[in-house]
Symmetry: C2
Subunit: 296 residues, 2 copies
Amino acid sequence: MDYELELKNRAQEANKLLEKFAPTGDVPPLLKEAMEYSLKAGGKRIRPVLLMETVKICKGPLNLAEPLAAALEMIHTYSLIHDDLPAMDNDTLRRGRATNHVVYGEAMAILAGDGLLNCAFQTMTENIPYDDDKYLKAYLKAMNEITCAAGHSGMIAGQVMDMLSEGKQPDKDVLAYIHNHKTGALLTAPIKAGALLCLCDENTYNSLTAYARALGLAFQIADDILDIKGDKGKLGKSTGKDEQSGKLTYPLVYGLGKTYEKIEQLYKEATSSIKNLNIEKEFLINTADFICSRDY
Amino acid sequence: MDYELELKNRAQEANKLLEKFAPTGDVPPLLKEAMEYSLKAGGKRIRPVLLMETVKICKGPLNLAEPLAAALEMIHTYSLIHDDLPAMDNDTLRRGRATNHVVYGEAMAILAGDGLLNCAFQTMTENIPYDDDKYLKAYLKAMNEITCAAGHSGMIAGQVMDMLSEGKQPDKDVLAYIHNHKTGALLTAPIKAGALLCLCDENTYNSLTAYARALGLAFQIADDILDIKGDKGKLGKSTGKDEQSGKLTYPLVYGLGKTYEKIEQLYKEATSSIKNLNIEKEFLINTADFICSRDY
């Protein structure tokens, strides 16, 4: 099947998981609406898709992967809501729609973001497989992996350094830190968490992790390029923002030519990391290909 | 021992737990500083104190209660940071110091809050007692209890309704909802989580929960009174804010006379809920007494 169509189908499956684990209980309707406005705004759903694919090809428990996959997308979405706030990137367009605070106001957007981050943990802890002797500990370790990737030494660390580096002198180490943390952590987490859940052996775990790291970095670098050369209508978000706000990006530090070379190198790194694994690799390789040759 | 001195000593013990579980790893120094600025600003530490006390009197595993207690205070602190933001309550004074965004700016305050909420979950998931056959599931259930209490049908729900009710017609049902969720949920959680961790029987669990509910409500109502009659210097936070922003409070809806009666009634409810339990009750009764007769 055509990869882009396949990816769309998988995104649809991820959307079903977000329906399944939607905020329930005694939740104020407007809070639920604000949380779901951003959660259901679409997107490639690459994080849940990568987790489900990892568990599928490693022949692990797909039902246990579901709450973890939904949680990953909730964490990603909360980070977008807070990132878009006027005090942060002050963005008004995201996934083709007005950003959360534009629609619901800043206070509600802050709370909707908090609600989604909390909902991610709630989704994971409410679905702990207490009586599954084989997978209980693996599930908990996967949950911990996702939690750490999102936190003060993961994604949030990257966001902070991204913010602090705005308008500063280009610095290669700082740039690498930002990329590895801001986007890298939450793109590596699905694959690491998936491998943990599947009780993979060390070699498989390490190979998949190396693949994920290269993929995550390529994804962020591609994003940097798209901010320069991408089409706002097609991307569904504002472009040219990085330069405007003086953000540290790969093209700024290395120039566009070297940036394309780096992506090519990362594609090779990603695919060679998993080439000796005895698992079904087609989707992972196509994903690397797709990310590294995005339309720019 | 004098109760207030005892409470101070216990707050010191809670502070040690916050040191023990402070954000570590590859965390940007300024993020760590901003998170700890609010976390170490003091306060009564009533949530961790209640959890540790519950586990102590129910003779449960105190070492396993520690990360849960620290997590509760981190959640409480993140909620204060976000509540104080200009887009929310726009407060400049908290626990006797300038609020987080006054010192670090809005963007960093948002991220420090996110970091603390995430750190709470990280603290809980990184300290899961994987190999403790007796308490593993109890620990996980306590963790889930805390997570749900903080979320979209717990504390965040209360914050949203609190915000939406500002300047609206006084409504008793909405007021009850706000109090039970905004403050009640995270004050009930330590005791419920503690009882779950201790594998308490149903009667003990229900009695302690009833105590906690009454205590939580009394705490919020006392807070409403303090906002009217309290001393800014002594409280370490701004007063008169509720009336100024048209917040729905107990004195506004019922008048001050009925508010004092309600607190008296809640004191009786709290203490009678646990009177037949065969546990050491002195600290819990003194806590109810302290909260219900705060200096107003």
